[in-house]
Structures are given as C-alpha cells and as structure tokens.
C-alpha cells in the first residue's frame, strides 16, 4: 500500500510540470517553423507577453473558481463591460475613481453570481451563463456598440502602453496578480479552504468551514480578476468596447486546466495558470503568423484547446 502510494507520488510529480514542458515545446516549434515570419523577434515576444497579460489575469481568478469546484462563464463579458465602464468613468471621474468603480462593478457581479449559486442552489455554470448574457447585453446597450476612446494618460500608462523601466506595465500587472494569487492560494487559510471546499464540500462543511462564503468569495475573485483584465485590454488598445475579451472564455479555461488546475475542483495552480496563458498566447500568435484566416484560426484553436485539455485531464485522473 505504502509502496503503491510512493509510486503514485512519483507518477504524479511531473503532472504539474507538463505545462512548462508544453510552453518550451511550442516555443521551440514556432521558433523553427516561423523563423522567417519573425516569431522570435523582441517585438513579437513582447507582443505575446502583452496578449498573455489579460488572459493570465483572468486565468488566476478562474483558478480560484475552479479550485472551489465552481466555474465562471461570465468572465469574458465582465471584461468587456469593464473596458467600457472604465473608459467612461476614467474620462468623467478621473483615474482613481474610475478604476475603483470598475473593480467594484466586477466584484458586484461576482457577488451576485456567488449569491445566486449558493443561496438559490443553482450550479454556477448556469448562473454565470445567465449573467454572461445579461452583462453582454448591458455592455452592448451602454454605448450603442460604439467604442469609447480613453484619453487619460495616467490610465494608459498604468494599464496600457506604459512601462516601469524596460518592463511593460501589462507584464507588471501579470506578475502582481500571479504573486498575490499564489500567496493567497498556498499561504493563507482561505486558499486552503477553497481547495478543501472544491475537493469535498460536505466534508469541509462537517469540519465547520463556511462553504457558502468560500464559494461566493471564489466567484467574486474570478469576476474581479476579469474586471481587471478588461481594464488591461482597454489600456492596451486605448479604448473600451462592448466585445473586448468577450471571446477569451475558452482560452482562459484552457490555460487554467492545462496549467494543472482540476476542472472539477480541489486542486489549483496559479503559476500553472500563468504558464498556460503564455502557451495560449503563443498559440494565438503563431496561428496568426502562419497566415491562417480568422475562420481557420478559430477551428485550429478550438481543436488545440480540446486536445490540450484532454491530455492534461488524463494526467489528472491518474491521481
């Protein structure tokens, strides 16, 4: 029995490193195949990093939701709404108030998601599918499908094209969110309770963990992260628009699951989620450089995501 446990441990160990191997592999592949298309140029790598940033921020939030055995399908629409709200609010109320209001709206949507899922006992995938529709609709109504330019320099510096020394502010946000997420998940009581609730809600409840609160908070975390990601998208393009980030949901879920987070709760990795986001950003970038048409990109990306998630889930079932 003990021997078997040890063996399992040995097999289990590489699982969390699969995503890093995949990152290196895909990078190597594109570096060779796309060497004439400028994949490994400084500007393209920076571009990949900037594209990965909003994905990574959403992925960290999603890691908490999935870790708690919940899922948040509304993140893409929350990001889109946030890009519009922040564009408007920063213009009319100034930098600090605009950012604060936008984050508060994200938190609020997460709280509503969590409250309905927990108190009305509707699975979070259904609740958030509903809010996905509602939030998308609100975003479309907000400015009649028009994009809203952002002219606040402070905002563009902090959330967009700016940099601290040589490091793009988008990358700094990714690092901040990653470090905070990692510490919360592994060093704080709450992070441990998230995983306990995700692994076995009734056992966690029998030990007195307030499972309702933990689940609501996990959904607040994912929606707030999505709101921040929307602000980064808005900063990068210097506009808010009703569809910014709207199509990132599947990409984010793939990034998180490839990164070693269990789709059904109990196990999560923030570092893996960020590595998974870089993998997804490289794939997006490589497919574009290959000259695929948008329609073909969609097909290729969908197939790759299913394949990648299938592989990482097979790994997870082993344990």
């Amino acid at each position: 029995m003990i021997k078997r446990a040890l063996q399992r441990r040995q097999f289990a160990a590489p699982r969390q490193y699969v995503v890093y191997a995949a990152a290196v592999l895909i990078f190597g592949l594109f570096a060779v195949v796309l060497r004439d298309d400028g994949f490994v140029t400084a500007s393209n790598l920076l571009n990949i990093g900037r594209q990965a940033a909003p994905i990574a921020v959403m992925a960290v939030g999603m890691a908490f939701a999935l870790g708690a055995a919940e899922i948040d399908l509304s993140i893409g629409s929350v990001a889109a709404l946030s890009s519009l709200v922040v564009a408007d609010a920063v213009g009319s109320l100034g930098f600090a108030a605009g950012v604060a209001i936008t984050l508060a709206i994200g938190m609020g949507i997460g709280a509503v998601n969590g409250f309905i899922a927990v108190k009305v006992r509707i699975p979070s995938f259904l609740v958030t599918l509903g809010t996905l529709g509602i939030v998308s609709g609100v975003a479309r109504n907000l400015n009649n499908l028009q994009s809203l330019p952002i002219r606040n320099d402070t905002y563009l510096n902090v959330f967009g094209a700016g940099s601290l020394g040589p490091i793009s502010s988008l990358l700094i946000w990714t690092v901040i969110v990653g470090v905070v997420g990692h510490l919360v998940l592994h060093q704080l009581r709450w992070g441990r309770h998230v995983l306990a609730v995700g692994a076995d809600r009734s056992a966690a409840g029998a030990l007195g963990i307030k499972t309702d609160r933990v689940r609501i908070a996990a959904l607040i975390a994912s929606a707030t992260a999505a709101s921040l990601a929307g602000m980064l998208l808005a900063g990068r393009l210097a506009i808010g628009r009703h569809d910014l980030g709207e199509n990132l949901l599947l990409t984010v879920i793939a990034a998180v699951v490839i990164g070693g987070t269990n789709l059904f709760g109990g196990r999560a990795s923030v570092a893996g989620a960020i590595a998974g986001s870089i993998v997804m950003a490289m794939l997006n970038n490589g497919l574009i450089l290959m000259g695929l048409r948008v329609a073909d990109q969609l097909i290729a990306r969908g197939a790759i995501i299913i394949l990648a998630v299938a592989l990482s889930m097979r790994e997870q079932k082993e344990t």
């Binding site: 029995m1 003990i2 446990a5 040890l6 399992r8 441990r9 060093q187 704080l188 009581r189 709450w190 441990r192 309770h193 995983l195 306990a196 692994a199 076995d200 009734s202 056992a203 966690a204 409840g205 029998a206 030990l207 007195g208 963990i209 109990g266 196990r267 344990t319």
Partner: protein, 259 residues
C-alpha cells in the same frame, strides 16, 4: 464501574429530527458520561448517524434539548460543537483527499503566524502545524509513511487513523465515532479500539456507533439501541448477551426505556 455514576458530559432530551415525512429521530433521550464508552446501536436507517449529526452541529434538531456539562446549549454549526469540546468522526471520515495529512489534521483549525495581522489574513504557520502533526501522530501511535502524502494516497486504515486522530488529538472531552472500524483489517481495527480505550482512560465521554457486537462487548460500558428513530433499549453491556443486543436491534426483543 464505580458505584457512583460518573458525571454527565452530554445529555440529549427529547431530540427530534424529521426529513420531510420521515421521522429520523423521535424523542430520543441519551446521556454520555465522562470515562464511559456508550454504544449507539441500530439497524440501517435507525437514526444513529442523524443523532450524531444533530449533536455535531451538522443538522439542526427540530425539537429537544442538548445539555453539555449540565448547561443547555444550541449547537447550530460544526464550529459551535467543536467549541464546546465535541469532536466527531463522521462515517464518511470528512477528510480531504487532495490535502496532505497535516493539512487535514488542522483543517479549519489552522495555526497562523505574523501576529494579529497574520491572524486576520490567515497566514498559515505550516512549519508549526507539520511538527505538531508529527507529535500528535506519534502520541496516538499512528504510523504514516510521510506527512506530505495527500490523503488520497493513503490506505483506508491510515485515512481512518488520521480522521480519528483529528477528533482525539485536542484533549476534547466528548468524542463521537460513527462506524470507525468498519472496513478495516484486523490489526487496524484493534488499533482503533485501543485509541477508544485510551480516550476512556483519559476521562473522555465517548459515543461509538457500530454494527459489530464483538466490539460492543470489548470496549463499551453501556449500549443504547435505536429503532426507526426511537430509543428502544438502554442497557449496561455487562448485563446482557450479544443475542439480547441483536434482539433489541431487530425488534425481536423490546425494553421500555425508562430514563
């Protein structure tokens, strides 16, 4: 046993709990005394686990009184039960397979570091919890190959040992064990019984749910029998045979409980 009955640790009086039309508990009276092991017997669906969950704060009883050390209390959450010194090993063990042994032992009872701010944030003191886990397991004679193993990688007996260790490690005075030795090997089951006897020696009040009549005669002082949610018998184990107990459980024999 001494002539003077030991002091009551927990008294349940007229405990009722229904699930829709089913009366899972129907005016059940039960007393646990310090330094005594009480068996709670009954067929499947007799209400044993429901009783345990009502006392452990998992279910809220519909009616009845719970007294701990003679003081009437309402136990509305598992936290409240734990704060009153009531520890429970549930039938499902309530261990988290993806967390390791130390993490399970200290789940929702985590030590924090970094002073008041650390406590407020809940900054885990992993080192302290790990070293205390070692001491606890050693004291209880539970052998686990490595504390870093996730619970899911342990054998059934080891998982059970950790669950029982968690309930008994804190010097608590009221311990309820729901089928703690079911599905265990002979040696592991003996180990569990030893833990129970240690608890009794330490003066704890123990409630043991089991289907195994040998175990009842080995470690229990008294036996309470439930049948369809009602208490049908309460006996001193020394006064009856195993056949008597089986008779009470199946309803072939009956005793008007008078308490």
């Amino acid at each position: 046993m001494n002539a003077a009955a030991p002091a009551a640790a927990l008294e349940a009086e007229g405990l009722c709990k229904s699930f829709r039309a089913v009366r899972a508990l129907d005016h059940v009276d039960l007393t646990l005394r310090y330094g005594e092991v009480t068996a709670l017997l009954g067929d499947n669906g007799a209400g044993k686990s429901t009783f345990v969950k009502c006392v452990a704060g998992v279910y809220a009883p519909d009616a009845g009184v719970l007294r701990v050390d003679g003081v009437a209390t309402s136990i509305t959450t598992p936290d409240a039960a734990r704060a009153l010194g009531i520890e429970t090993v549930h039938q499902t063990l309530a261990v988290i397979d993806t967390l390791d042994v130390a993490e399970n032992l200290f789940l929702n009872r985590e030590h924090t570091r970094g002073g008041p701010i650390g406590a407020w944030l809940g900054v885990l003191d992993k080192k302290r919890m790990r070293s205390e886990t070692e001491h606890i397991l050693e004291r209880l004679g539970i052998r686990i190959p490595s504390l870093r193993h996730s619970m899911g990688a342990l054998s059934g007996g080891q998982r059970q040992a950790v669950a029982i260790g968690r309930a008994t490690a804190w010097g608590r005075q009221i311990v309820m064990l729901d089928e703690p030795a079911a599905a265990l090997g002979v040696e592991q089951a003996a180990r569990v019984l030893e833990l129970i006897l240690n608890l009794r020696e330490g003066g704890a009040a123990v409630l043991l749910i089991t289907h195994n009549m040998d175990r009842v005669s080995e470690v229990c002082d008294r036996a309470v029998v439930l049948r369809q949610g009602r208490k049908t018998a309460e006996v001193a184990v020394g006064d009856v045979t195993k056949d008597d107990l089986v008779g009470y459980i199946t309803g072939a024999k009956s005793q008007q409980a008078h308490s």
